[in-house]
């Protein structure tokens, strides 16, 4: 009985962790490479979720098809935002530290703008739709099929993305920019373009995560900030700039969340912060950090 319960908690943690991983990988690209601590990250997740809800209820479009709609929208949005706002800030900031501080504050502004436009368009009520809401027997425990679909999609997206990063020329440029963006620029990498692409990819992953979130959890215009904070915690947990670190960190946080929730659901968020604070004190470079 006890073993069965532990198993339930582990599976729930893994299912949650898949989405956390995706969210954190996106922020890892934006903060680890493009040096923007994007407080508006969660807003792209919200956009992905709320757009999926809109196309599902209005046109009956399958959420998995919505991935192909929401991803490009958030990508273009992220790319344009970086090219206009953050490139200007980066070139006008006297030092990287100043850029980090200023871009974080600008991202806060972005967060207020996107969230309130969404509030004006969609209102503040909670929404949700029912997709694949049937029980599946997964390794001996019963779970809603949509969560399983979300986990598998997250894994597939994460792996594809990792392969792009390791195998392609663009991936090499991104990794070089993460190492040292100035030197990468000197080596012939079009740094403004690559950083904007990174930011766009971060938004793309957030949009994907939003689609998956919308299958399993309630959707509302102010849902973003919670996911942003989770993403920040996972990125610090996995180590700044480490994409595999963020991927694995997401599952670790998912497990911790499900363990604490099984004991006291209202303390899950508080537990994340305690973990985050302990981490900053003991090992600020993260598990996979240098």
């Amino acid at each position: 009985m006890l073993i069965g319960r532990i198993f339930d908690i582990l599976v729930a943690g893994l299912l949650m962790g898949g989405i956390y991983s995706l969210i954190a990988m996106g922020l890892s690209l934006q903060y680890g490479v493009a040096r923007v601590l994007n407080i508006a990250h969660g807003e792209f997740i919200m956009l992905g979720a709320i757009l999926t809800w809109t196309v599902y209820t209005a046109f009956g479009i399958n959420p998995l098809v919505a991935l192909a709609i929401c991803g490009p929208i958030t990508f273009i949005l992220g790319f344009i935002i970086y090219r206009t706002m953050f490139t200007k800030l980066r070139t006008s900031s006297p030092s990287p530290a100043v850029f980090e501080a200023n871009s974080m504050l600008a991202a806060f502004g972005l967060y207020f703008i996107i969230e309130n436009i969404a509030l004006i368009i969609w209102g503040s009520q909670m929404r949700g739709y029912s997709y694949l809401n049937v029980g599946v027997n997964f390794l001996g425990t019963v779970f809603a099929a949509n969560r399983l679909v979300a986990l598998i999609s997250a894994l597939v997206i994460g792996v594809i993305f990792y392969i792009i990063l390791i195998r392609t020329r663009l991936g090499k440029a991104i990794r070089a920019a993460a190492e040292d963006s100035t030197t990468a620029g000197l080596m012939g990498v079009n740094i403004n373009q690559v950083l904007a692409l990174c930011f766009g990819f971060g938004a793309l992953l957030a949009g994907f995560a939003g689609v998956l979130v919308s299958m399993c959890y309630p959707i509302y215009a102010t849902m973003g900030l919670e996911y942003t904070l989770i993403a920040i915690i996972v990125v610090v947990l996995g180590g700044l700039g480490s994409i595999p670190g963020s991927f694995i960190g997401g599952f670790i946080l998912g497990l911790i969340g499900s363990i604490v929730s099984s004991w006291q659901p209202s303390l899950a968020i508080a537990a994340y912060y305690v973990l985050f604070m302990l981490l900053l004190l003991v090992r600020p470079s993260g598990i996979f950090g240098k």
Binding site: L37, M85, K88, L89, S92, A97, E100, A101, N102, M104, L105, A106, F108, G109, L110, Y111, F112, I113, E115, N116, I117, L119, I120, L229, I232, V236, Q264, S266, L267, I269, A270, Y273, V274, F276, M277, L280, L281, P284
Partner: protein, 321 residues
């Protein structure tokens, strides 16, 4: 114009303006209605929050997003102790609890890199909010608390008193050895440490002093609401508004944050009543525009305009802007 009148004028004008403004503020209840006096109190409250924030974050360069945490701690102190102690003691208690909290937080975190400090302090607001919610739901079984009511004039004078105390403290510290140490940390932390400044100590103490004033003003403003719960008390907006107001005014000068907060707080009251739905949207747009185009704030803008005007005057050409 000879040199002596020039310097005396330079020193006299700001002093006289501040004195006149303070006298005007002190006598405000005589000619402002009881409803509007609360509006003035709210503006002074924002000035206190902004000046306290800039007092720590301006010279040291660490962006603190813990303002809402200290503010909320002050609010909750009043909610808990309000009926047991006299008003001034309650407010001092709110300040002291914030002071101690800042000492602890500062001792733990001020070794961190700047950006981590910002995230950590923001997390602190959410952490306290969630722990309080948990506490209220599972231990006391209540949701929120009722606060003792205080009349508007008393609220106004307490806020004004805190403001004067803050100005005095900031002024005295700026002129002291401690203030110089703070300035040197902002210029170059490593060099300051090498010349014998106890960097961590100075940072922690400054952080705690600024938290004291934020907690105290939270303590008095709590009496404006009849009812508080963790969501009302720990509203993250109170962490961002001071940052925005200070940058809006300009961090380079002591009076920059004061001017920024005064203008912005007035705008806020205006926008909130006229466009309640668009208020936060406008707030976000202003934040982005200020960071992109006004890095030195209004003060910097004014100085630039004046320089351009003077240059135009000297060469006999008018700047075509």
């Amino acid at each position: 114009m000879n040199m002596t009148t020039f310097t005396s004028k330079k020193f006299l004008v700001p002093w006289l303006t501040s004195l006149i403004l303070l006298v005007l503020l002190a006598t405000a209840p005589l000619y402002i209605s009881s409803y509007n006096i609360i509006l003035v109190a709210a503006i002074v409250m924002y000035i206190i929050l902004t000046v306290s924030w800039a007092f720590f974050s301006g010279p040291t360069g660490y962006i603190s997003l813990a303002t809402a945490a200290f503010f909320g701690v002050g609010i909750y102190t009043t909610a808990v102790l309000g009926k047991a102690l006299p008003l001034l003691a309650v407010i001092a208690a709110g300040g002291l609890v914030s002071f101690v909290l800042a000492l602890i937080v500062g001792a733990i975190t001020l070794r961190l890199r700047g950006i981590y400090f910002a995230i950590f302090t923001f997390g602190l607001v959410e952490l306290i909010k969630h722990v309080l919610l948990f506490w209220e739901i599972t231990v006391t079984g209540t949701r929120g608390r009722f606060v003792v009511l205080v009349d508007n004039i008393t609220i106004y004078y307490v806020v004004f008193g805190i403001f004067v105390l803050l100005l005095l403290t900031a002024y005295l510290i700026r002129r002291s050895k401690f203030g110089l140490a703070m300035q040197s940390i902002g210029d170059n932390e490593e060099a300051a440490a090498h010349t014998g400044v106890n960097v961590t100590m100075v940072k922690i103490l400054t952080f705690a002093v600024s938290a004291f004033f934020i907690g105290a003003v939270g303590g008095i403003m709590a009496t404006r609401w009849t009812y508080v719960d963790p969501y009302v008390a720990f509203n993250p907006l109170f962490s961002f508004l001071p940052v925005l107001m200070a940058i809006f005014g300009g961090l380079g000068q002591f009076y920059g944050p004061i001017i920024g907060a005064a203008i912005f707080a007035y705008l806020e009251e205006l926008l909130l009543t006229k466009f309640p739905y668009y208020y936060m949207l406008i707030f976000g747009i202003i934040l982005v525009v200020v960071i992109l185009y006004l890095p030195d704030g209004l003060i910097g803008l004014m100085q630039r305009l004046r320089q351009r005007w003077q240059k135009g005057g000297l060469t006999g050409k008018h700047a075509n802007t």
